[in-house]
Amino acid sequence: MHQINMNFINLIPLFPLLGAIFCFALRDKKPSILCGITASLMVFLSFVSSTASVFALSGAASPAGTETVIVSNNFTWISAGDLKIGCDLMFDRLSAVMLFVVTFVGFLIHIYSIGYMIHDKDSNRFFSYLNLFVFFMIILVTAKNLVLMFVGWEGVGLCSYLLISFWWSDPANAAAGRKAFITNRIGDFAFLSAIFILYWLYKSCGFETGFDFIKLAENFKALSAALPSSGFVVIVDLVCVLLFIGASGKSAQIPLYVWLPDAMAGPTPVSALIHAATMVTAGVYMCVRLGFLFAASALALKIIAFTGVLTAVFAAVIAMAQTDIKKVLAYSTVSQLGFMFIAVGCGAFTSAIFHLATHAFFKSLLFLGAGSVIHSLAGEQDIMKMGGLRKLIPGTFTTFFIGVYAISGLPLMSGFFSKDEILLYSFAGPHSSAIFYALATLASFLTSLYMHRLLFLVFYGSFRGDAKKYGHIHESPAIMTVPLYILAFFSIFSGFIVFFKSLNFKTLLASYQSAIAAANISHSSEYSVMGIALTAAFAGLIAAYKFYISSNDYLSKINNAFAAFIKIQENKFYIDELYDLIIISPLKSVSIFLHKIIDVKFIDDYIVGGTVRGFKYINSALSDAQSGRVQGYLSAMAAGLAVMTVYVLYNSIR
């Protein structure tokens, strides 16, 4: 790999850091637009410098057949023995894509936040955290070694935690923040273990890499030659599985997804930026960054694809029954992240990053749109109390509509291209499987279904909320709608990037895929997959239309399910009722089952709660032992001494 040294890429993280410090210094001052503007400007400057880096990257000459990377070797951060870990940054094509998403979407969300948060008394602090988040995210993306990446990884977790519980006076929000933090710790633990094992693996074979990604990748082949193949595979499998557990904590995969829906307690721009567009995709990014490792572990890829598929379907089903607009989008995010992991698991790293980028646009669009809806309705989040908003807030409606279409994968939208690619690779990729494909298609159908359900329930029909509120509904200010338009534009057109040969997206991440055999995908399978995907998306649309628009009395029906049976006789729309019976009702009950039993009861209560109860039990036992009676202390000492002595004597003298 051809490295060129350019220190100006240090500017990319520097700007948001300065912004964060500036805003934090003003946190006690009266909230003013100044902080918002500064924060946005800083992210914009960072966007500009990353764009400049892209030009520098493409302008740099490199020997044929190698990839160019811009690096900035700053200083040695840790040095212990032979190990040297630098505080170094790198910028390659993968970081370019991620940085574009982080800085550009981040910038738009900052602008939007000015409008959204202007009335909050703590908005300066909010912008400070938001900028700090962008800083850590950039560190995560541009880190040249795994350890520095972990610093960013922890940093974004911390900021996410701070922002989820931003309105901390409500204990539920603080609890959500804590849940996010603790769930992520499980993932982080796996991640750390993976780092250690990886270190040990390289070290034991005499490669001193300092966790540097470039050196790790370069030495990987030599490493696999140096070790007996069976042992090597086992270790790599272990490392990859641990890394994936780390990734699934951050990227909300089963079973560590529980924190993401709760994380919606934070302000909506936070949900859009952190919990849809950037931080939650860090896991996917990490898997792709370490793609050379994953490519060597078929087992890990299978586990990833399986978890991804399971999460995609599971979350989509749960999303069906949610009534909180942000919760629907949260589960949708979980499901879409599942899609990205399907792509990773099928060995299609480029598709994963492609979907990551398009998803960043349309999901942040949807979140911001939802924020705009909530803003218009003065804080109402229940979709059962919305309806018919199409005419009242046309700007939000149009953009939301585009977002829904993009995520559903309807033709010519960005989601269509990216999701189609994932489906294609799950069907005919190097690690494809029929089950993955079938389930992914099912998830794609469900996505279309629940997204249209959301669209129809919010914007169509008649208003179901408080009549008094109806008169006050107003469109959000321009500062909030303009970012929506820009994001809508990208939601539509970012998919076409695949057609521009000059941008060379297909080979963007070629180096990360080199280990995976290029799949020979015939045109016929390409078209048939596309056809089936379109059918699934339209089926979802039609089903939702039939159900949520054609039959107006849906609401009364769900209130008394038994009454619905009687109505079947009277009702002319017999086919709809059948549809309800066969598809919607089971789906709904499964959805409720999954949510209530698996999600809340099993995972939350038994796994998470059980651990907590176990700790509590040991704790109270310890507390009893520390009774304050000094004999107890002395007995413990005596017992310890006796065990130690007997053990040592027994072991040494026989």
Binding site: S623, G628, R629, A638
Partner: protein
């Protein structure tokens, strides 16, 4: 039966263990201190027995130092006992449970 080093060492170990047992079962804090003194004496006996074995009477100094440490410990400990008795009115260690958890 001749008396050798082992006899003294076993005697010392026995005294040490008796002191240790006393520490774990007694409640009166003064008696607890006496148990510690017993353990120190057993250390002394061990030192003197080994010194005899090695014919190294220089090390008898160590036994005297142990006694000095024991004396200092006793003085401080008894001062603490008096101070505690003054404010808590008890010499029963099981009643001293203000600090726990």
């Amino acid at each position: 039966m001749t008396i050798g080093l082992a006899h003294y060492l076993v005697l010392a170990a026995a005294l040490f263990i008796i002191g240790l047992i006393g520490l774990t079962i007694r409640k009166n804090i003064i008696v607890l201190f006496m148990c510690v003194e017993l353990m120190l004496n057993s250390a002394n006996l061990t030192i003197l027995a080994y010194a005899r074995q090695f014919n190294d009477s220089d090390f008898h100094a160590a036994a005297l130092f142990v006694m000095v440490i024991a004396a200092a410990e006793a003085a401080l400990g008894l001062a603490l006992v008096v101070a505690m008795f003054r404010y808590r009115g008890t010499a029963d260690s099981t009643k001293l449970t203000l600090l726990k958890g």
